[in-house]
């Protein structure tokens, strides 16, 4: 499921494994000098002595795509960046697989680093996607980073 805008930015939710190179390459205009990519993946971890077998990400898809577009537009206003690509996995994701990739291309690397870091923070704060952890004997929803519904601006 993808949402294209008039620019080269893109936001997608996908059931397929994510190839981070192809996400990064799709956002490179010839005048750019650097792409910074965040590759976030599912950690091997335990909660209350239970080993996580896999995760399932669920999205409120139309709103998730809309929020992704909103945070990218905000990033473009804040930072001197050329293009952004974001792909978030939905459905079942195995340990070690990439759950989210954010790639930012910019003429100068400083802005690419800043924007990429800001975008993952905003994504985790506002984009309506939920993670459920599955164990041998059950499952549990992960707690999100707290979202302030009454925003200051």
């Amino acid at each position: 499921m993808e949402l294209k805008t008039t620019s080269s930015d893109f936001y997608e939710l996908t059931l397929e494994p994510i190839d981070i190179s192809s996400v990064a390459r799709r956002i490179v205009p010839p005048t750019c000098g650097a792409t910074v990519t965040l590759d976030g993946y599912v950690r091997e971890h335990t909660r209350a002595h239970k080993r996580t077998l896999y995760l399932v990400y669920e999205a409120y898809q139309p709103m998730a795509l809309r929020e992704l577009r909103r945070i990218v537009e905000e990033a473009r206003a804040k930072f001197d960046i050329a293009h952004v690509g974001i792909v978030h996995r939905t459905g079942q994701v195995e340990i070690g697989e990439t759950s989210v990739v954010i790639a930012v291309a910019a003429p100068h690397r400083r802005a690419a680093f800043e924007a990429c870091e800001w975008l993952i923070r905003e994504l985790k704060r506002t984009v309506p996607i939920w993670k459920k952890e599955f164990y041998e004997d059950g499952s549990m929803w992960a707690e999100g980073e707290h979202y302030e519904a009454h925003r200051a601006n």
Binding site: G40, S99, V100, P128, W130, K132, R151
Partner: protein, 94 residues
């Protein structure tokens, strides 16, 4: 013929309600079509949902609500055909 009357004096609004994540598990369904009183706000609807599904109260102030795919606060007025989503704090990313 009575469209004008409905438009000027609707007694009920038809809205869709969606639940996600742990909120859906509590409600036991992902989508409801319901009728609510005209001039209802998000707050009105939230109170109704909390009355119907008391377990939703465990999210406290962190229960989030979106109207037509945008975050909304309790004062947001509802209109017919709105899609209202209830969900706990998001946990995407990694």
């Amino acid at each position: 013929m009575n469209n004008e009357i409905k438009a000027s004096m609707p007694s009920k609004l038809s809205v869709s309600i969606l639940f996600f994540g742990a909120a859906r598990d509590i409600v036991g369904a992902s989508q409801h079509e319901i009728q609510i009183a005209a001039n209802s706000t998000v707050g009105t609807l939230k109170s109704e949902m909390l009355a119907t599904y008391p377990e939703l109260a465990r999210f406290g102030r962190s229960l989030l609500i979106a109207v037509n795919c945008e975050y909304a606060d309790e004062h947001t007025m509802l209109k017919s055909d709105d899609e209202i989503a209830f969900f706990p704090p998001v946990s995407g990313g990694t």
